[in-house]
C-alpha cells in the first residue's frame, strides 16, 4: 500500500517525514503535550497506525529503514505513552474474584463490559450499504488478521507457545492457502463488490477502529505487554463465535452470497475452539507460569472489550441516525 493521506497536523508530520529517505530525514518528536481524547482522535490514531504499519507490510513509497529508525521510535513512544494512559484511564478493569481460575475471571470480565450489540444490528437491521461500510472498516484489521499475535509467539514458552501456534496455524489456513482467514475476508470483500487490496479502505476507518487496531499492535509489539496481548486475544476470541453467526445471518438476509458469508461461518466454529485455547491453555497457563502478568492479561481483555464496544457503538449510532459511519463521509459529501 501507499502512505495514506493525513487527516490532521500530527499525521501530516509523521507521513511527510516518512516520505523522505531514512538516512537523511530527521523525524518529528511527537506532541510535547496532549490533552485530547486520543481514542476519538483520528489524526492521532492514524499517525500511530502508520508507525505500526512499518512493522507489518510497510508502504511502497516509504524507505524500509524507517522501521528501526531511532527518530521514528522516539515519536512512536511519545504517542504510545498517551495511548496507554488513555487505555488505563478507560478502566477500571471490572473486579473479578482473585480466587477463581484465570479463564473464569476473563469470562466474567467479558460479560461485565457492556457491548455495543453491533452484531445484532447487522443481523436484523443493516442494509446492503451499511454492510459494505462495515466490511470496508473491518478490512483494516481482517486483511492482516492474526498477524499481530504472531509477534508474540517468540516471547512465550511451553504450553502457551504451543497453543498459540496451534491457533495461528488455524488462522493461517491449516496449511491451505485458500483457507487463510485473511484470504477468506478478501473473498468476502470481492463478493460484496468491494476492493480487496490491503489497506485500501484505511481512509474510511473511524478513529475508534484505528484505536482497536493500534491497541492490538501496541500489545503485540512490546514484550512487556505479552500478557495484555494474550488477554486481548482471549477476549477477542470469546466474543467472536456468536457475533459472527449473527453477521453471517444478516448477510444472507440482505442477499449477499454464501461465499461472502463463508468468512463469518468459518469463525463461528474456529473461534469457539480458539476461545477455549486462548482462555485456558494460553492465558490460564501463562498466568500460572508468570503470576505477575495476571493483571495485564485482565487489562488486555478489558481493552479489547472496551474498544470494540466504543467502535461498535460509533457505527450503530451513525447508522441509526441515518449517517454514514465512514470517517471521511463528510469529505466525500463535500466533494460531491
Amino acid at each position: 500500500m501507499l502512505l495514506p493521506e493525513p487527516t490532521g497536523a500530527l499525521s501530516a508530520q509523521v507521513i511527510d517525514a516518512l516520505r523522505a529517505p531514512a538516512t537523511t530525514g530527521s523525524f518529528p518528536s511527537g506532541p510535547s503535550s496532549y490533552d485530547g481524547d486520543c481514542l476519538h482522535d483520528a489524526d492521532f490514531q492514524l499517525a500511530l497506525w502508520v508507525l505500526y504499519e512499518l512493522h507489518y507490510r510497510g508502504f511502497d513509497d516509504c524507505d524500509e529503514e524507517w522501521e528501526w529508525h531511532p527518530g521514528a521510535f522516539a515519536c512512536r513512544a511519545v504517542l504510545e505513552r498517551v495511548f496507554v494512559d488513555a487505555l488505563r484511564a478507560a478502566g477500571p478493569v471490572p473486579e473479578t474474584s482473585p480466587d477463581a481460575p484465570l479463564h473464569e475471571r476473563i469470562e466474567a470480565l467479558v460479560e461485565a463490559v457492556p457491548g455495543a450489540d453491533l452484531a445484532r444490528f447487522m443481523q436484523r437491521e443493516a442494509t446492503l450499504e451499511q454492510y459494505r461500510e462495515y466490511l470496508k472498516i473491518k478490512s483494516v484489521y481482517h486483511l492482516k488478521e492474526s498477524d499481530p499475535q504472531s509477534f508474540v509467539l517468540a516471547r512465550l514458552r511451553g504450553v502457551p507457545k504451543v497453543r498459540l501456534a496451534e491457533l495461528q496455524y488455524d488462522e493461517y489456513g491449516s496449511g491451505r492457502p485458500d483457507r487463510l482467514h485473511q484470504t477468506l475476508f478478501a473473498r468476502t470483500l470481492v463478493e460484496a463488490g468491494l476492493d480487496d487490496t490491503y489497506g485500501v479502505y484505511l481512509q474510511h476507518a473511524p478513529a475508534t477502529t484505528l484505536a482497536v487496531n493500534n491497541a492490538t499492535s501496541l500489545f503485540a509489539l512490546h514484550r512487556r505487554f505479552r500478557g495484555a496481548a494474550m488477554g486481548h486475544l482471549a477476549a477477542f476470541e470469546s466474543t467472536s463465535s456468536i457475533p459472527c453467526r449473527r453477521i453471517a445471518q444478516g448477510m444472507r438476509r440482505i442477499g449477499l452470497s454464501e461465499r461472502a458469508a463463508e468468512y463469518f461461518d468459518e469463525h463461528v466454529e474456529a473461534d469457539a475452539v480458539h476461545e477455549q485455547l486462548a482462555l485456558r491453555d494460553i492465558c490460564g497457563v501463562l498466568g500460572d507460569d508468570e503470576p505477575e502478568l495476571v493483571a495485564d492479561i485482565l487489562f488486555g481483555a478489558f481493552v479489547c472489550c472496551h474498544l470494540e464496544a466504543l467502535d461498535g457503538a460509533g457505527l450503530v449510532t451513525a447508522w441509526r441516525e441515518g449517517r454514514s459511519a465512514l470517517r471521511d463521509a463528510a469529505d466525500l459529501v463535500g466533494a460531491a
Binding site: E166, Y169, D170, S174, S241, I242, R245, V268, E269, A270, D271, A272, V273, E275, Q276, L277, R280
Partner: protein
C-alpha cells in the same frame, strides 16, 4: 451434557473444558456423532458440541453460552 465424542485418527487427544463447553479434539481424522454419522476433521483441533444445542453439530458454535449454568 452429551457423551464424550468418538474420534478416529492417529494419536487422538480429547480435552473436556467443563459443563456444556466443547470437547477439544486433536489428532482426529473423523468425529463420529451419536447417530454414527462420520464428520471429517479439517482443522488441527476441533471443538465438539457437548451441550447438544449447536446449530452446526457436531461442532461447537458457542450456543452453550445461552444455557444457564447449573452451578
Amino acid at each position: 451434557m452429551t457423551a464424550v465424542p468418538e474420534a478416529v485418527g492417529h494419536d487422538v487427544e480429547i480435552v473436556l473444558c467443563g459443563e456444556n463447553r466443547p470437547a477439544l479434539v486433536r489428532g482426529a481424522d473423523v468425529v463420529r456423532d451419536q447417530d454414527g454419522t462420520e464428520h471429517p476433521v479439517t482443522r488441527p483441533v476441533v471443538g465438539v458440541c457437548m451441550c447438544g444445542r449447536s446449530q452446526r453439530a457436531p461442532w461447537c458454535d458457542g450456543t452453550h453460552k445461552f444455557i444457564k449454568r447449573s452451578s
